[in-house]
Symmetry: C2
Subunit: 288 residues, 2 copies
């Protein structure tokens, strides 16, 4: 099965278990809406690509790891959109979860998606439990405290922030989690894959800043929020062209960081293809 | 080490890892406040008591399971107190997390505590990973969708609710999770321990209704919320004396449900002792 189909099947199974008999109907609808609203599945694709490059001897486990990372990403979007954070009424051109279902169900849906991520991993890990402790710990560290995406978001409540620290946690941690989890699920050493996650995470942050500053309708969410909320933005500090140049550099560094292995060429091609998706179309990046 | 000391040591270790270098300082303070604010640790005590009754051959794993359940309970309190739910400014006589640290950090602290629960379990499970998949799945089911405590809370957003379904998920699920996890962590069959969790969960719900209706300052949180918010309450439907009688029955059923095993007498005594803690002092229950 192709990566995309594996990811959707795993997410569908997880949401199917979570919305089974007994689930409050609106809560089930909120969970479904949070996960199946047109996400690009960048992180789970990356996870499976690394697992593939490492031989992928246990596809059930790598699919579960990829889905767990996407479920956590979806949870983070649901909570980030809440009135206490971005107060975003839209996400990917559709109503955000709290706009569609109310704030209580949005908070609870985020909570349940985090839980579902770890359950998904544990179910797949029943066959090879020896890899489960390290994989669970790794994914937990990329989400929670002290350096995961929740901690990254928490830096917005501090009076002083080092921008790199903030971005590394808020955006980078889950990309690094994705590459490392792909390797771990395949029984490989995850350390050679850290830089790939870091560089893609940085590239993604620059692209997000560009979309926010100049993306227009394409962003599928409100534009100009970074400037309005006084958040650090690469597009604001480097200017649009400076940020595009930075993005090209990071994508090159990401591709170059892929360790030599059987699937290296395919993975480098994937990095470049994903990079082209990252750039706002009105700022098309031509290969350097 | 006594149960209480094991629980506090495990929680301290988990919060220590989560607030280690790199954690935003206010976020670290919010996590600390959420977990160390005078909770009675009823659920983890119950978990360890069942593990003990089953021989407790792997105390590191049972301690971690107990701490995971308490971390999740703390997360649920932090989120339940938010303005979108109870809008409670106080908890256990102290400021609630959002009152002390703001809504963004309260949402993120709840998220991070859920993650921390699964990380705690996974770290302890590294030694005996064979028990980790079932234990993680069990705890996940008691928290998330479709029937865990988050789903229970989600019933409040539905136009029609069966009160028993609502309470079984909102309060009962984590008590059942606690007893079953204690057995599973000890390598025992968890099914004989379901009824103990269910009956204690029901008793706890009745006691909570009584505290809300008649507890006065003892509740350590606002009183009369159930009536004000139109929530189902045993104290409102049965009257105070009716609810006290119901509570006594449930405690008796809980004690009687304990399967015959080496630690059965100690566990039955614990159930009775905990029951006395549950009752508002101005409504003291005398043994039937």
């Amino acid at each position: 099965m192709e990566a995309e189909a594996r990811i959707e099947a795993e997410l569908r199974a997880a949401i199917g278990r979570g919305t089974a008999q007994g689930c409050p109907p609106k809560f089930a609808a909120a969970l479904e809406h949070a996960v199946f609203s047109g996400g690009a599945r960048v992180r789970p694709q990356l996870c499976l690509a690394v697992a593939g490059a490492c031989g992928d001897p246990d596809p059930a486990l790598s699919s579960a790891a990829a889905a767990a990372i996407e479920l956590i990403h979806c949870a983070s979007l649901v909570h980030d959109d809440l009135p206490a954070f971005d107060a975003a009424e839209e996400r990917r051109g559709k109503a955000s979860v709290h706009a569609a279902f109310g704030e209580p169900l949005a908070i609870l849906a985020g909570d349940a998606l985090i839980v579902m991520a770890f359950e998904t991993l544990a179910r797949a890990g029943a066959a090879t439990p020896s890899r489960l402790p390290a994989l669970t710990t790794l994914i937990a560290r990329s989400v929670g405290a002290p350096n995961g995406i929740a901690a990254g978001q928490a830096w917005e409540s501090e009076p002083e922030v080092v921008v790199e620290t903030y971005h590394r946690a808020k955006t980078g941690a889950l990309f690094v989690g994705a590459t490392m989890a792909g390797a771990l699920a395949a029984g490989a050493d995850p350390r050679p894959w850290v830089m790939l996650g870091e560089k893609i995470g940085e590239a993604y942050q620059v692209a997000d800043d560009l979309l926010d500053a100049a993306g227009g309708a394409e962003a599928g969410k409100p534009v100009g929020r970074d400037a309005a909320l006084g958040r650090p933005s690469c597009a604001l500090s480097l200017g649009t062209q400076g940020a595009v140049t930075k993005l090209k550099e990071l994508v090159g560094q990401a591709a170059a960081s892929v360790p030599d292995c059987d699937g290296a060429d395919r993975l480098r091609a994937l990095v470049s293809a994903q990079a082209n998706r990252l750039v706002p179309k009105n700022l098309a990046v031509h290969a350097a």
